[in-house]
């Protein structure tokens, strides 16, 4: 406990409690109690570490009610690493037996048992193979490995199918870890059970090595962030592979004219939701916009809150509080509706799933799709 206080104390002391973080925090926006705000969490952690506050249920709940969207970190005038502090505090909560919350523990147990966070049977991980035109055979050049991820594997197979079809059309060869792929481990790492993630991470790294891949392609920003940032910390070794998000790959393929948008999308007005873990976390804001604007007949309109300032979709909160996650998603849908777009595009399976269900919940007249599905449609697949 003292370690974390030592590491963050001067950061914490720089928090002047101005409250600029409150306005952008998806959790505070719905709950409204100071403990749900980023500044509240910072002071609460400090209070606990100093011994001024008890480690009670409210404190534990609020430490887990953070989407990790990093909006507060960007907004903070003192540039406090709020999300890092919260994540390290979760590790302390696990050590003290107070974390993770039961729903997160169940999700982590799912990973241990079925190798996916959703608790679906592991042997159904490749059900996306059933999509028409999707083949998994590789020509043998497995320089690239496509790391599919849990959410695309089970809940939005259209993302996987579209990605594979696009790559086939571009004559871009790649390999798959396939049935041997396990969850990337992000839920364990973010909930403070990093130790449990070690075996998962080792397994995935071994499989990538066995395939001989030098690059790993992801369609999920969560997997992208985990493979990029966390794997090296956990294994203690520099990754022997480079991680590529599908956004960058599609952007490059278009630039090299390996993709041609042949289908004109008449009078389609599109708005783009920046996923937190590919936008704010990695600064990838323009690739998706360039792809969308390159599609003939498509008009891109921006939501008021975009790029660095984009509001979170709330997807990552669903395991902790489904109603909160839905409320945050519904708010984002309302922002999309203000643009009068008829299509909301994102580049993250978790955003896709949460925004899609939020649109249904809000009875909103807007379709939600993943960028890969849009691109596949535009090249006539």
């Amino acid at each position: 406990m003292k370690d974390i206080l030592r590491r963050y104390e001067y950061d914490i002391l720089k928090c002047v409690y101005c409250g600029q973080c409150r306005q952008v925090c998806p959790t505070f926006g719905q709950i409204g109690w100071e403990s749900s705000s980023p500044r509240g969490k910072v002071k609460m952690i400090h209070g606990w570490l100093k011994g001024d506050l008890p480690l009670n249920d409210r404190l534990v709940d609020q430490i887990y009610l953070c989407a990790g969207c990093e909006h507060c970190t960007v907004e903070c005038p003192s540039k406090l690493p709020v999300v890092d502090l919260i994540r390290d505090t979760r590790k302390e909560l696990v050590k003290s037996g107070k974390g993770p919350l039961p729903s997160l523990k169940a999700a982590n147990d799912n990973i241990l048992l079925e190798k996916n966070v959703l608790g679906k049977p592991h042997n159904e991980r490749m059900s996306w193979r059933d999509f028409e035109g999707v083949t998994i055979e590789s020509s043998g050049n497995t320089d690239y490995a496509y790391f599919v991820g849990c959410m695309p594997s089970y809940w939005c197979s259209d993302v996987v199918a579209s990605t594979i079809r696009i790559l086939r059309r571009a004559k871009f060869d790649f390999g798959l870890i396939g049935g041997e792929e396990w969850c990337c481990g992000m839920p364990m790492i973010w909930s403070g059970e990093e130790d449990k993630a070690k075996a998962i991470v080792k397994h995935n790294v071994d499989k990538i090595h066995e395939l001989g891949a030098k690059r790993v392609l992801t369609t999920c920003p969560g997997c992208y962030t985990t493979l990029t940032r966390e794997y090296q910390n956990i294994t203690g070794k520099k990754n022997s592979f480079k991680v590529i998000h599908v956004l960058d790959l599609l952007y490059e393929l278009l630039k090299e004219e390996k993709l041609k948008f042949e289908n004109k999308m008449d009078k389609l007005v599109v708005t783009y939701h920046d996923p937190c873990h590919i936008g704010r976390s990695h600064g990838k804001f323009e690739q998706a916009r360039h792809l969308i604007e390159s599609i003939p007949g498509m008009a891109l309109v921006e939501m008021k809150k975009n790029r660095q300032d984009a509001n979170c979709c709330g997807g990552s909160l669903s395991t902790v509080s489904d109603s909160l996650s839905l409320a945050v998603g519904t708010k984002r849908i309302k922002e999309a509706l203000e643009t009068r777009a008829n299509l909301l595009v994102t580049a993250c399976p978790q955003c896709y799933v949460n925004l899609r269900r939020s649109a249904i919940e809000a009875n909103a007249n807007i379709d939600v799709i993943d960028l890969t599905v849009l691109v596949a449609g535009a090249i006539g697949l």
Binding site: V16, Y17, G19, Q23, W33, E34, S35, K43, P77, K79
Partner: protein, 468 residues
């Protein structure tokens, strides 16, 4: 600790989910930006309507329980710190924009509406609430009016006192009083609206506000001029006014702020001069063009060694950047040093601004404390940022003396210890020096009439009997 029956009663009034006695919440509502003052309330209540606020206050008055109103808790003078415990009323959930009335050029809002959210809504109609505090993104309008706030645009548009047409206030007895209305003028006796502005929640809780709004200007231009001597900056500011130009904003970065910004924003270094003047003019396109040209000529004739300007909105944002990041820059200057909001709001007549800046520099030198100075030169308001290691008790002692000297400096220059942040607890000791004994005694009597039991935001503004 409150009796259980009072907690139950409050829960019945606003619902269980809007009441908390959890130690975590009590701790987090014990503070605002002023770090020196912290005190936990006995209970936090989050009402959703004016009626609920009224019921809470009525109960508190009956039982003699202190009540502290709080907006976003972004104040810097301890005004929302419940220094005597009791009930903390968090008004951030009473946050509806009730009416945008364009024909009458006003809006009716609830106290918890965030300043920036109002302007986001008004922008759709081509209007704005023309005050621009640095806390726009988070401060609530109720809190902003309660402290008598200002901002960057005060030089042209005035302070909040000129924009409040009417109020709905929950009095300490729980009664609701309506003051003013939608008309731009009224010659009908005592102006209670003005009495509540700046009263910092000591006379009641502002629950709803009628605010004057103005059309967004057609065009803007920004001129940024660097000067080798601080006196040249002040002379230029005064000359701009004497040429019958009233800029929308007129800001100053002194050398300490320039150095801080250059350390923070390495990609675009500001000239290492004694002072930088930033002037924004707004209005019709022709008027802006004329004014910007005149400002440029004055700056050059007064000795500006480097000048940049633009009437392009994107470039204006870049020109404003140095000023807008100065707060963040101070926080990042040194790893173990944090900014303390004390002595941070002195305001002097513009003709004495150089004496004020130099006085602050002397304090910095005398006490060996790092002070970054910037502010609204157009209305004489400086925001010195004092940096200390919060873990070092000696630094706190030195800070206290340095702050006291900065406040004395403002008073000696015929100024005030606070231009726009309020007195709260932090500057309460200066109330008599600011107003004189007679005026303060009058205020105490007014307070007694409104709040005979002394329940409303006690411990603020030195209003309690026997303090003078």
């Amino acid at each position: 600790m409150l009796e259980a029956e009072i907690v139950d009663e409050l829960s019945r009034m606003v619902g269980d989910q809007n009441v908390s006695t959890d130690p975590i919440e009590l701790y987090l509502y014990s503070m605002d930006v002023s770090v020196r003052f912290q005190h936990r309330p006995d209970i936090v209540v989050r009402p959703r309507s004016v009626e609920q606020i009224s019921n809470i206050v009525k109960l508190a008055n009956e039982r003699g329980i202190p009540v502290t109103p709080r907006g976003a808790g972004s104040g810097v003078a301890g005004g929302a710190v419940p220094i005597r415990g009791g009930i903390l009323v968090d008004l951030s959930a009473v946050n509806e924009i009730l009416e945008v009335d364009l024909p009458n050029r006003c809006v009716t809002v609830q106290a918890g509406v965030v300043h920036g959210d109002l302007n986001e809504e008004l922008e759709k109609h081509g209007f704005f609430f023309p005050l621009d505090p640095a806390s726009s993104k988070m401060c609530t309008l109720g809190g902003f009016v309660s402290i008598g706030g200002g901002g960057v645009l005060t030089v042209k548009y005035g302070s909040v006192r000129e924009y409040v047409l009417g109020l709905n206030v929950v009095l300490p007895t729980g009664e609701i009083v309506r003051t003013g209305g939608k008309t731009l003028k009224r010659a009908n006796g005592y102006n209670l609206t003005q009495l509540f502005i700046g009263s910092e929640g000591t006379l009641g809780i502002i629950a709803e506000l009628i605010l004057k709004i103005v059309p967004l200007p057609e065009s803007k231009a920004v001129v940024v001029a660097a000067f080798n001597e601080l006196q040249e900056v002040a002379r230029t500011a005064i000359k701009i006014f004497s040429k019958r130009i009233v800029p929308a904003a007129m800001e100053l970065l002194d050398n300490s702020a320039i150095k801080a910004v250059n350390k923070y924003m390495r990609e675009k270094a500001l000239p290492d001069v004694d002072g930088i003047l930033l002037v924004e003019v707004d209005g019709s396109k022709d008027e802006v063009k004329r004014q910007a040209q005149a400002v440029k000529e004055i700056c050059l004739s007064e000795g500006s060694v480097q000048l940049d300007w633009s009437d392009d909105p994107e470039k204006q944002t870049i020109l404003w950047k140095a000023r807008s990041v100065v707060g963040a820059a101070t926080a990042s200057l040194a790893e173990k040093y944090s900014r303390i909001y004390e002595g941070e709001d002195i305001t002097v007549p513009i003709s004495r601004i150089v004496e004020a800046v130099e006085g602050v520099r002397n304090v910095s030198e005398k006490y060996g404390i790092q002070i970054i100075t910037f502010g609204h030169i157009g209305d004489g308001n400086l925001h010195p940022a004092l940096l200390i290691d919060k873990n070092n008790p000696e630094h706190w002692e030195i800070l206290k003396e340095a702050v006291s000297e900065i406040h004395e400096l403002a008073l000696a220059l015929d100024g005030t210890t606070s231009g726009e942040h309020g007195m709260g607890i932090l500057r309460a000791e200066f109330m008599e020096r600011e107003h004189g004994k007679v005026a303060l005694n009058l205020m105490k009597k007014i307070k007694k009439i409104f709040d005979p039991k002394g329940i409303m935001n006690p411990g603020k503004l030195s209003l309690e009997e026997g303090e003078t």
